[in-house]
Subunit: 200 residues, 3 copies
């Protein structure tokens, strides 16, 4: 179940990366690289920072195959994907929840402080998009208005609060992902975003 | 003393990163990330390249807390910070000296060649700003005119020259930081900068 | 022979990086950093991802010296280098072949799957240029039109196909580099490039 969600999330991130790259008129190789880093870039950065090398996707090729599949789907159906906007958004939101949990888990496995684990969860879920935006020569969208990262931080804090209350692991994971997915859905429905911090 | 200077430098770098990000009209999350990478990005890159993982700030949370404090100060006083321009500049200059020494030290601990140690010192002091500029979609300012990095290189060469003369460690550290801080002050007072290398 | 080609490739990449940086009107420090990352950035990224740290150029200073030499040649002869355009292009193409082979080799030494080895070969040969373009605030040229990366992938597939047929190592290396260099020459002569994937 958990793995199925991970795969759905990975594919959704790959498809969304491919779409961004095609909107920038990149060539097939560029589109593939952007799909790839959007999908596994956050987890790769996490693995590098905590020293889990070779990084995850080099040891588990399922990620690579899923991204290749997502890439081909995005390229073949590139003129029709707008019809699947809602499904894509749902998968992407599932990815946000699952990737945050995976990041939290890797941080705990490395015996890091909860504050660092929350940073790793947020990084896993959000920094693929940051690398995508840098490669596409844009200021990362989550630094400008998207509430995306804030949701992961809230989810991470909730996770450790519940863990402190000895909530059983299965329920803890379920509640955290439901919380993240729920806030994300509400954020989109009610157009929540963070205001810019201006100096004048 | 040494640790106090490290903290002052870390905070100055965080504040200056936050100011840059606010000038770019980023949201609170974006401002925080830019403050964070400006402050510890150089040391993080150094740790990754030499294989000291998990990277420094994941194991010593004092950095994280100092950055959070610097971030809040910068956000709360964002309309008044220009008054503290001189103090900020002094702290930033102290950071330049201390961070260079920390980088040199980590290189020697890893038994690397002096040339590589000097590169690591320069990276520790200057590459947080490089990552900040990339995330803000600018060509890094130290690649264009700032004499910043050159000062660190000169400081590093001086360090190994003195070390070869068996200058005691405390005096060696003091002299190197005074040299770096002194050149930096003169560079600003006399408007020193490197000319662009043009091809026509 | 093999090492001589590695050095020629490293220098060609350094010179081409320095030229790009001078066209962007960077200062001498910026030009040096761009020359450096263009030359060893791909291999550095590879080493970080597979956990070979300290990264290659920190342990073998020959790379550093060759890059410094290439940098000075590029700076001193910057107004005359267009005359050596053909030699430069040949060295650069040799670099493409040799760097791909080095990447494949490091992947096999780390016991990684052939698909990952091919990714590492491509990364070693092409991602120095990607980092150069990001630092110069451009969308990487190999994501937009250059057929560069595709040639490395084709070379990598050929390498493992021949290896499966038990072709002796020396011949395997020779054939793969001849193939990569040959396709690259033809790509330039016949103006091969990948079309952009557009959505409308």
């Amino acid at each position: 179940m958990y793995e199925l969600l991970d795969i759905l999330g990975t594919m959704a991130f790959a498809v969304s990366g491919a779409l961004t790259a095609m909107n920038k008129k990149l060539d097939p190789f560029g589109v593939f690289i952007i799909a790839f880093v959007t999908s596994v870039g956050g987890g790769t950065l996490r693995d590098i920072l905590i020293g889990r090398t070779p990084v995850g996707w080099m040891l588990n090729l399922n990620y690579v195959y899923v991204i290749i599949l997502g890439y081909f789907l995005a390229v073949v159906f590139r003129k029709k994907l707008d019809r699947f906007r809602t499904s894509m958004f749902l998968f992407d939101t599932i990815g946000l929840g699952v990737f945050t949990l995976i990041g939290l888990e890797k941080g705990m496995e490395t015996s890091l402080h909860p504050v660092i684990c929350i940073a790793l969860g947020t990084m896993t879920a959000c920094f693929g998009g940051v690398i995508r935006d840098i490669l596409c020569n844009e200021i990362p969208v989550i630094f400008r208005k998207e509430i995306y990262a804030t949701i992961c931080i809230v989810g991470g804090i909730f996770f450790f609060a519940m863990k402190g209350l000895n909530v059983p692991k299965d329920i803890l994971y379920l509640l955290t992902s439901v919380l993240i997915i729920g806030i994300r859905l509400m954020a989109v429905i009610f157009h929540w975003s963070l205001p810019a911090l201006e100096r004048k």
